[in-house]
Symmetry: C2
Subunit: 208 residues, 2 copies
């Protein structure tokens, strides 16, 4: 299991300070969608240059023009880009094609997908590397159960590995870790902690 740190609402300097304190306690650094909306690919390029040992994920949430938009991410230095599971199959396929050429990886985000198991199976067949169950920020107060969705997504996939995102914190991590997703995405539980490095290290311990 690998720990992905989702970064938003930060400056590049703030992100660097945080990543310097975290050291090797995170495996993947995510430039979140709102940050991309504000700054484009600049943070992706800057973080990959500053932290070449980390994988950088650009949370592009691609919905159309899959090949072209994925290339924007990979050209900027991203190791992984995201496509929406709600996108059409050709779009997902275009993102996968761009990833193969760039020797990068694709995470499909199942946010707002009604039938997680079926769509996970379809997306798995299209060749994505990770299928991410994602309790939307806008849904985190509604009692949606990411564990149930994680199980459904894994059932649907024969090749793609699972990832889980959306409000993951220390208290909820042990139950998630039992299901052995390949990637656990954490944002505020680390970035908003008084001691982010301590939280990240404890998370790594729980994921071992």
């Amino acid at each position: 299991m690998r720990l992905q740190l989702a970064l938003d609402l930060v400056t590049l300097d703030g992100a660097r300070r945080l990543l310097d304190t975290l050291g090797d306690a995170v495996d993947i650094v995510e430039v979140g969608t709102p940050w991309i909306m504000q700054e484009g690919m600049r943070p992706v390029t800057a973080l990959k240059q500053a932290y070449p040992h980390l994988q950088v994920l650009a949370d592009l949430k691609i919905m159309d023009a899959g090949e072209h938009e994925a290339r924007i991410g990979f050209d900027a230095g991203a190791d992984i880009v995201t496509v929406l599971g709600a996108a059409g199959d050709r779009t997902v396929g275009g993102v996968v094609a761009a990833a193969r050429r760039a020797k990068g990886e694709v995470m499909a985000d199942l946010i707002a997908v009604p039938d997680v198991r079926r769509r996970a199976a379809e997306i798995d067949a299209l060749g994505v590397d990770y299928v991410c169950v994602h309790t939307a920020f806008d849904e985190q107060q509604t009692g949606k159960d990411p564990l149930a969705e994680l199980r459904l997504a894994r059932e649907g996939c024969s090749r793609a590995r699972a990832a889980v995102a959306g409000g993951v914190k220390l208290a909820t991590l042990p139950a998630i870790a039992e299901l052995q997703p390949a990637i656990v995405v954490v944002g505020g539980a680390i970035t908003g902690a008084p001691d982010p490095a301590a939280v990240a290290r404890e998370m790594q311990r729980l994921m071992r």
Copy 2:
């Protein structure tokens, strides 16, 4: 009917040169999703400052954190932001709430929505200003019929006005104009024309 020019694959200088030649032949200038992915909100702010008489649409294709992400667009100077019809109702509602506060508008993009009529009705009830039927770039070779979708979307809406996007060109505009959408979105048919201003003016004539 208003003409929205979708801009992608351009530099800010290129966009300015184009808009200067177009004069008042376009009503809304769209900063397209790939351009936002590359440059963030810079083109939105720059174009609004340079062309205050034009409405600027930021094609954010919001899928989560509706209120927060919409605010990024409005704070940067956008008059209209887009949310995906595939997003959850809370996300759409958050975008609408941010628009009301910013005195901006919301266009919901029905790209990849399976039941256009039903979703248009649901989104209409959530208070969006425009519902856009959008033949995905990745689907434009598959023979999907934007006119049929435009009719369905209009049937679903009691308040929101219709917009149409995706490969619109001079040859297809008359049939679209007959259905009187509030906004017609055109990209390559203008930006790739030998004489973009002539095409835009002819489109305006067909839409009268």
